[in-house]
Structures are given as C-alpha cells and as structure tokens.
Symmetry: C2
Subunit: 200 residues, 2 copies
Amino acid sequence: MKSGPVSKLISELSRLPSIGEKTATRLAYFILKEPSSYAQALSQAILHAKKTISLCSECFQFTEIDPCSICKNPMRDHTLLCIVEHPSNVFYIEQTRTYQGLYHVLHGVLSPLDEIGPQELKIQELLNRLKTSSQKFHEIVFAINPSIEGETTVTYLVNLLKPLGIKLSQLAHGIPAGGLLEYTDRKTIEKALSNRTEMS
Amino acid sequence: MKSGPVSKLISELSRLPSIGEKTATRLAYFILKEPSSYAQALSQAILHAKKTISLCSECFQFTEIDPCSICKNPMRDHTLLCIVEHPSNVFYIEQTRTYQGLYHVLHGVLSPLDEIGPQELKIQELLNRLKTSSQKFHEIVFAINPSIEGETTVTYLVNLLKPLGIKLSQLAHGIPAGGLLEYTDRKTIEKALSNRTEMS
C-alpha cells in the first residue's frame, strides 16, 4: 500500500500547508473509507473553485465576478482602502462586519531572502489605482501581519505613499479582547501601553 | 466570498477528520493560490484512489488487486494473523518491516453507543476465514488500540476464538522507546511493571 494511488493521494495531500505525512495518511484513509460521493464532492469542489475563481482586477481579491462584489458595491466607502497581505485576510476582516471600505491585496510581503521584491507584489497596481481611481481615497489602513517582513513592507509603502498626501493608519495593537495580562507577551503589553486610549 | 464555490470548498474540506473551519479556510485559499495544476493533481488523486482501491476479500485491507499483495505473498507467514481496527493500522505496522504474518481488518470496534455491533464488523468474515483457510493459523495477534471499546472488542473476540485452540496474543504495552519515566502516565508504568521482561 506504500506505492500506487494511495501514496499518490498522500503525497498530494501533504503539499497542503500544515499537513504533514502523518496527517495526510489519516486524511487519505478517511477519503477511502467514506462513500464515493464524498470523494466526488471534494474533488469537484476543488476543481470548480479553482476554475471559477480569479483575481479581481481592482483589489486582487479572489472573486467569481470582476470587479468583485466589494469593489462594485456602491454602498461601501470608496474613499477608504485597507491593504492586506493575502486574499484570506479580506475574509477574516469581512467576518467582523465592521469595515465598510475597499481592499487592496498585495499577495505577499517583501522578503529578499525568498526573492520577493516590490515587483512580485501588487504594489505598482496599488499606485495605478490610487492615481486613476474615479473617487479619491481619504485614508489607507494597513492590516499587515506584524512579522519582520510585514513591518518592512509597511515602512516601504508608507515612504512610497506619503507624497500622495493620503491619511495613513494601521490596525491597533494591544491586549486581545478578553485577554489576561498574565498571559500576554511583553511586546504586546508594551504596545498596549504606548497606544493606550483615553477613557471618556 | 462567504457564498459560492469557495465556501463549498471550505465545507467539503471541513468534513475531513481534525480539519475545522479555520484550517479548511486556510487550505481552500492555498488551493486557490496555487497553479491550476495542483488543483487538478489533487482532485485526480482523490478520484483515482477512491476508484481503484477496494477491500481485499480475504483480509479487508484497502487494495488495488484482490487478494491483496500481502495475502497472496507466499513469502509471508500464513500461519500468523494480526487483527487490527482500521486499514491504516496495517500501513503503520508494515512500516516497521518486522511483522511477516497476515492481517485481518475489523473496520471498527464494538461500540453499542454508536450502534456498532458484531454484525457491523468483519467478525463473521474472520470466523469463516479461520475455518476455511487452506493453511491453519498457529497464532492470532491482537493489535487493537487500548480504548474502552477496543478492549471490549478484544475480550469479545478472545471468548469467540478460544474454542478454536489457536494461540492468542496482543501487542506489549510499556514505556515507549526512548520514553522517560517522569513523562509516562501511571497506567503505562503499571503495565510496564507487570509485563517486565527478564534480562539475559
């Protein structure tokens, strides 16, 4: 059973992020055990999603229609732009139902070690968008993960965008909702202190 | 993005064991990000494995050919039979390359709460196999996980098989290889003590 279709399935599943060979083996045996209908539904869902989903030509989010439902929604604030790293970040922010502006997906962050420079990201597209957009953007919110590469990317973009005279902001860092001080790392407490908010 | 092909993909991926909605979302976005060739390879591997793999009519292991390569291998010990719960258990035992006998896969353990009785398992098939096999089995090794249901199943089978006069054994329990006493639970130390082996 170490060769043939099962090991092929295990090896394809192992390419998924955070799925090691052991988990992939468990998933493969699960798929084999389930009725054929599941294998069919799963493989069809994979192909169908990949076939029908492409990138929005404005914000570079995954979408079925172009421009995407967010970009072409007149009810949203077309003067507010949120810059994120990955398409999935849009999904997580949308889940909160509190953000009403538009998005711009960079598709990564600057990472010289991985040979990812500005050309590999949707940065030229961002500049074009800011220049040619029918409505002027009043504020750009950075929602980039605070890794070293993420912070480098934000610094790079801030330098690039400052001359345009648009207000720039970033997500607040601080104690997570419901978080206890004793379980919060020093860096977060530091940021929560320096970003403390005045009580009314 | 919460509706349509992506959420369908997320929901199908969520049915896999130990994959929650958050992990499924991450996997789905990974599949969308990768080139189409990966989506195709993955979905094809799923369908192909499910289509070509069936159960061996002798040991009920997953196999491409019937009887499976283990059952029809004349080099293996056809007098030694190892009883396991799931097809994947065969895979894990085979990895050790130390067992040379045959297998019998029960496809589960007795679990009245889940309405799994002897009829739902390959127990009648086991009895038929023991009675009709051309070669007599000299020993049956139980390699069933030591859950409450697993131990109940072993007790049930031992009572059933005792009259046949075949030697019955089970995998040794004890300290895992390289395991430290201080990290070993009390039950395991207890079993390791009572099953202690004489040093030569």
